[in-house]
Amino acid sequence: MITIENLHAQVEGKKILNGIDLDVKSGEVHAIMGPNGSGKSTLSSVIAGHHDYEVTEGTMLLEGEDLSEMSAEERAHKGIFLSFQYPVEIPGVSVTNFIKTAINANRKAHGLENMPANEMLKKLEKNQHYLKLILVFFHVL
């Protein structure tokens, strides 16, 4: 799924990642642990394509495709998802609206029409019920 080789990255001139090698295959779950300041969150930001982080060396391939020149949006459209440690609420934007916008942006990038409202609602309800997520809806999505 994703192959990372010898990844070095810095933020504001400060080197944080010093040669990460990681190979995650389809169907696998990998856990990354480490003390504060070891680079865990930087690694996730770099994979997702945060513009403040500069990759100085190494490669990241998603299903064989080089991520280095892709923006965060393009990476998201290719199927990379990052759940933030501290999600920021945007006043006036409901969770439903937020998800709807994200899904439709994704569909647009793949040349699809917006998801019809009734289909969206059905999908939301199905997932809420399936995941029993109502209580922590904000946190997961």
């Binding site: 642990m33 759940s83 994200a102």
Partner: protein
């Protein structure tokens, strides 16, 4: 994650600030979304989350490098010995 159906999900300390019940709900949700077609990277401080989301591999990051990789048993070893043990390996 359930709505967007990503190929690669990175969960950055999803367990921070959650009480035990919420942690179980989130872990249960993540487990339901595991499939042969997607991959998940879980970033966490604590072994506790990994009791619920059981990983295939565990990597320890130190000073911007993966210094040790193993199975879920590595997380238990870390819990028991702390990160100082890892620092000694470097």
């Amino acid at each position: 994650m359930a709505m967007l159906e990503p190929k690669l999900s990175i969960l950055d300390e999803t367990d921070s600030g959650l009480d035990i019940d919420a942690l179980k709900i989130v872990a249960n949700g993540v487990n339901k979304l595991r499939s042969k077609d997607n991959a998940i990277v879980v970033i966490t401080h604590y072994q506790r989350l990994l009791e619920y989301i059981v990983p295939d591999f565990v990597h320890v990051l130190f000073d911007g490098k993966i210094v040790k990789s193993g199975t879920k048993d590595l997380a238990l070893e870390l819990e028991a010995k702390g990160y100082d043990w890892i620092k000694e390996l470097v």
